[in-house]
């Protein structure tokens, strides 16, 4: 059996054929896509599975639990527009009610307004500064 050490020692990334000629076309590794097709992963280009995305860029997050023999389901939908354009990133709501989003992975938010303010500050490549002076 090959040890973990032998496995990693043999892997290099310096050759284009190892990672594809153009990263742009490298969506997910083939074996991961294969698993995703079987319904066991979520491909960021293939729609948003259990999170319903709609035409306005809204995201619905579904939380379910049981309490005292009762079944509970809570759907939360956010419609966010920035400068009139729908926000298309991925959002979800944790059990504690905080907003979690792919774009700011190291933070969760009690306020969606705070989230959008931070989003604009963190992504100046996407949201150019409009404030004067």
């Amino acid at each position: 059996m090959q040890s973990g050490k032998e496995k990693v020692a043999g892997c290099k990334v310096e050759h284009a054929e190892e990672v594809g000629d153009d990263l742009r076309h490298l969506d997910q590794p083939d074996w991961v896509k294969e698993l995703a097709r079987g319904g066991h992963g979520h491909d960021d280009h293939a729609g948003h599975g259990g999170h319903g995305g709609d035409h306005d860029g809204g995201f619905t997050s579904t939380r379910t639990t049981h309490h005292d023999g009762h079944e509970i389901e809570i759907k939360t939908t956010y419609h966010i527009k920035i400068d009139g354009k729908p926000y298309r990133g991925h959002l979800s709501v944790n059990d504690d009610g905080h907003l979690h989003c792919h774009a700011i992975p190291y933070e969760t938010y009690g306020s969606a307004l705070d989230f959008v303010r931070n989003l604009i500050d963190i992504y100046p490549d996407t949201f150019a500064t409009k404030t004067q002076g």
């Binding site: 040890s3 973990g4 050490k5 496995k7 990693v8 020692a9 043999g10 892997c11 290099k12 990334v13 310096e14 284009a16 054929e17 190892e18 990672v19 000629d21 990263l23 490298l26 969506d27 997910q28 590794p29 074996w31 991961v32 698993l35 995703a36 319904g39 066991h40 992963g41 979520h42 491909d43 960021d44 280009h45 948003h48 599975g49 259990g50 999170h51 997050s61 579904t62 939380r63 298309r88 990133g89 991925h90 979800s92 944790n94 059990d95 504690d96 979690h100 792919h102 774009a103 700011i104 992975p105 190291y106 933070e107 604009i120 500050d121 963190i122 992504y123 490549d125 996407t126 949201f127």
Partner: protein, 293 residues
């Protein structure tokens, strides 16, 4: 071979800086990207792959679940191997930033000096990765789509904008003492565990303190990512030595819902390598730490 504290080992510091610059200068095949950029790309793709689809807790192929520890250990070893190759220094091992030692004044750490990483700024204007050094960011997450976009601009840091502290040595010790178990059901951020404590209060706080490029899914764009995660790996190693009988969880008998996180699952990679969490629990075949605490 030993992983050292970057602030107390000049050779490790110089090799790390030179290694990052050399990997940034090395074209990745015929693309406009470099070998260095590959790590930001890989991290972004793993982080945007939800496991399973639609889980509201944000668990993905590298974060918010059990594989957080092993997957980042894997990425660091691959990066370390690349520096060894590009510098032709087989004894090189990644250094770490013991941020807890700088908790009283993280912005005042010598780490941000001109001969280590340079300081805060948009763009960063000091140190080896400063604006004009050639260490340009070539790809970043698109803030509006979760995909990534091409850019060609200098590195950004913003201390104290999204977070003003880094965890203290007491917080690290408390984390280790509080959790004799690695994970527990439902293996996500809705319940606490050592993995949760390591990832959320300890690890994420440091990303927020540094700010700038460290706030995004392409955070390996900032070399401090590797020094920070090396320290996170060191804390996990300390936890492993504190609880040598504790198991990695979940075992392979857990349902497919936990695919990418179970002990014998293949971890997310573009490389032709089938590496599992179980393969990588014993890190001593790759490196050791000078001190664990």
């Amino acid at each position: 071979m030993i992983r050292h504290n970057i602030l107390t080992n000049d050779v490790a510091r110089q090799n790390f800086v030179q290694g990052c610059l050399a990997l940034k200068a090395e074209p990745l095949g015929t693309t406009r990207y470099s070998t260095y950029d590959y790590f930001a790309f890989w991290h972004h793709r793993a982080m945007n792959f939800m496991t399973p689809p639609g889980n509201s807790a944000g668990r993905n192929a590298a974060h918010a679940g059990p594989v957080f520890g092993p997957w980042h250990r894997f990425l660091l070893i691959v990066f370390e191997n690349q520096i060894r190759r590009v510098l032709n220094e087989d004894d090189f091992r990644l250094p770490y930033w013991d941020w807890a030692a700088d908790a009283a004044s993280p912005a005042g750490s010598p780490l941000w000096g001109p001969d280590v990483l340079g300081g805060s700024g948009n763009p960063v204007r000091s140190g080896p990765f400063r604006d004009g050094s050639g260490f340009n960011i070539r790809l970043t997450q698109d803030g509006n789509s979760d995909d990534w976009m091409d850019v060609d601009r200098p590195l950004r840091r913003g201390f104290n904008i999204f977070g003003t502290t880094v965890p203290s040595a007491t917080e690290v010790t408390n984390s280790i003492n509080s959790f004799p178990f690695y994970e527990r059901q439902p293996y996500n951020n809705d319940v606490s565990s050592f993995r949760w404590d390591l990832e959320i209060p300890l690890h994420s706080t440091v990303h927020r303190f540094v700010g700038g490029d460290m706030m995004t899914t392409t955070s390996p764009n900032d070399p401090v990512f590797f020094l920070h995660h090396c320290n996170i790996d060191r804390i996990w190693a300390r936890w492993q030595s504190t609880y040598p009988q504790a198991l990695y969880l979940p075992r392979q008998t857990a349902p497919d819902t936990y695919r990418f996180h179970r002990e014998d699952d293949r971890m997310h990679t573009f490389l032709d390598i089938n590496l599992t969490p179980a393969d990588i629990l014993d890190y001593t075949v790759y490196y050791d730490y000078d001190i664990l605490n």
